[in-house]
């Protein structure tokens, strides 16, 4: 089973404060910690577990600048065999469509049975790149996958719907699946893994290497162009409780008591 995993190097923002740049087109990156996109982390783990069970190879691919190399190193250290980083100043400003076009060119001539990627990215949250790539490659896909079982040339999958409901289906290989968080338990990087990763090769390809035109990537090759970023208006303004932790705790206790809940 040869598997390609598409990963993205993104800032961790769930626990971080975000500052929007003065031009309103991006966020202040200094002070943010970048790592593999959380959903892709589960996709990589799934790929490595499948390889361990069925044999074959895992190739990690990303589109991103030099710093994104650390995410690929992590993939190699966790069990990927090969890594490809697609990079070019012209890729700047690409949306999920442009990214999918870049990845399509890079993987279409590789041998693969399965492509895995995260169900969405924690930064732009399009949840679209995977199935767009499947569309470009002309292979079937299924999204938000919580379980994978192999059965000859098909995969029986379970995908997450709303309200705790799951859908079981079957798809023919080769296929692309987007992985939902919680499907497995991503492993930690071992010292041995890091050592091995040092010896593995990381391929770097640019715009001309993959044979795309300038206008097919970046902002001009995208469907969506960001005009302005701003802090979301709040639905209702919370009353902020201030003071020492003890004072705040006393206020909270009073509020709860006033509702007759103590």
């Amino acid at each position: 089973m040869d598997i390609i995993v598409c990963v993205k190097h993104v800032p961790e923002t769930a626990e971080a404060e975000i500052k929007i740049n003065p031009d309103g087109k991006g966020v202040e990156e200094s002070g943010l910690v970048f790592d593999i996109n959380e959903w892709d982390d589960y996709a990589l783990e799934e790929a490595v577990q499948i390889k361990e069970k069925l044999g074959g190879t895992v190739t990690a691919v990303t589109v991103g600048p030099e710093a994104a190399g650390s995410t690929l190193r992590k993939c190699l250290a966790r069990g990927a065999d090969n890594a490809i980083r697609l990079t070019d100043p012209k890729f700047e400003g690409s949306d999920s469509y442009a990214i999918a076009k870049i990845l399509n060119k890079a993987v279409k001539d590789l041998h693969f049975d399965l492509i895995l990627t995260g169900a969405q990215a924690g930064d732009d949250s399009y949840a679209a790149m995977g199935p767009i790539l499947a569309g470009l490659l002309g292979i079937p896909h299924a999204t938000m996958i919580k379980k994978i079982e192999f059965n000859n040339d098909t995969i029986r999958f379970s995908r997450e719907l709303e309200g705790g409901l799951e859908e079981v289906g079957e798809v023919r290989l080769p296929t692309l699946l987007t992985i939902q968080t919680g499907i497995n338990e991503p492993r930690y990087v071992s010292i041995m893994g890091i050592r091995k990763a040092m010896q593995k090769e990381m391929k770097i390809l640019g715009l001309t290497d993959i044979g795309l035109g300038e206008d097919e990537v970046g902002e001009s090759g995208s469907w969506v162009r960001i005009e302005k970023m701003y802090v979301p208006p709040v639905e209702k303004q919370a009353e902020f409780l201030k003071g020492s932790p003890e004072e705040i705790a006393a206020k909270v206790a009073e509020i709860i008591k006033a509702r007759g809940l103590v």
Binding site: A14, G122, I132, G163, V171, E227, P245, E246
Partner: protein
């Protein structure tokens, strides 16, 4: 007359709420653009749904086929492509749901129609489509324009637009023959699996303590459980806690978990991704503790505390114990 398509979403015997939310928004857009609001219904034995949709839309395009009975993005894409080729809609709305997410991107590629996903607002002016969507887990809003085209596809976030009935549209129902051929489909639907019954029912609790990523370590959970016990409440959580296996999935609040409406919801270390907010924003009283003053959870909370939750929980436990006497 140009058309705006709204793809009806149905599952297990009912039209889903997002359908009516999109029809309401679609009507507003159609009136402004002088377009015809058209509901697209793909299914099997669903004429009853078509009648309901005709109360909202000027036209209902109905395609019936056994292969469309349950959602299958591949079969849906084929049927929908056929309708797009015939009607050239200027805009197609579908839900940013497990269905829309599976269908919209590959449809957009094959029809060469620009796509924007998870939109919370959209405007169509002078042939240019402008959308509002969110990034970084709801911490940033983005206004974006789509590349100019004859037709666009937009997936719409659930529970964002109200579902209004308005004056009945008395729409016309047009049944179109199914273009599906058996051997073409590479993906098939097998079955729906319901969450296992039993266990703790967080929807029945008056007091819920919801924990999120800010809890950092599973070893902290017993001390939060103590707080829940003092309050006679129940422990609930956001998605990352279930993903890590720290709490079972019957404790998860949000679009992929439970929708709750307790008398009080205390959110500890939950930043408030919209999937979580959808599940708890109608709680009677919301108290949120988070280190980031700009966390979206404060946008739905009645009371906010910008502080490390571990500094608040211990004194809160003692104050509440005192009050109980």
């Amino acid at each position: 007359m140009s058309k705006i398509f709204v793809l009806a979403e149905h599952r297990r015997g009912e039209l889903r709420e997002i359908t009516f939310e999109m029809l309401t928004k679609g009507k507003e857009l159609a009136e402004k653009a002088g377009a015809e609001l058209t509901a697209v219904l793909l299914g099997n034995n669903v004429r009853e749904y078509a009648k309901t949709l005709a109360e909202y839309a000027k036209k209902v395009l109905l395609v019936q086929d056994a292969k469309l009975e349950n959602f299958n993005s591949e079969a849906y894409q084929k049927a929908l492509s056929n309708l797009i080729q015939e009607h050239n809609p200027m805009l197609i709305l579908m839900g940013h749901t497990s269905f829309g997410v599976d269908l919209a991107p590959s449809l957009a590629v094959s029809m060469n129609m620009p796509l924007a996903t998870d939109c919370i607002e959209l405007q169509y002016e002078g042939g240019v489509l402008t959308v509002t969507r969110q990034m970084y887990g709801g911490k940033v809003n983005v206004n974006a324009t789509l590349r100019k085209a004859e037709g666009y596809i937009v997936t719409v976030r659930q529970a964002t637009f109200p579902a209004e009935r308005g004056t009945p549209a008395n729409g016309e129902i047009v049944e179109v023959p199914s273009p599906l051929v058996q051997e073409e489909i590479r993906k098939r639907f097998i079955e729906y699996v319901l969450p296992p019954p039993g266990g703790v029912d967080i929807t029945a609790a008056d007091t819920l303590i919801g924990i999120g990523r800010g809890i950092k370590d599973s070893e902290e959970i017993p001390s939060i459980e103590e707080l829940a016990k003092i309050l006679g409440g129940t422990l609930a959580c956001s998605r990352p806690i279930v993903d890590k296996g720290w709490l079972p999935d019957n404790r998860q609040v949000g679009s992929s978990g439970k929708t709750v409406k307790p008398k009080v919801y205390i959110a500890l270390g939950i930043s408030g991704a919209f999937q979580h907010i959808l599940g708890m924003k109608n709680s009677e009283l919301i108290i949120a503790v988070n280190k980031d003053a700009n966390a979206p959870i404060f946008g739905v909370a009645d009371y906010g505390i910008v502080e490390d939750l571990f500094k608040i929980v211990p004194p809160l436990k003692s104050k509440l114990s005192e009050l109980k006497g």
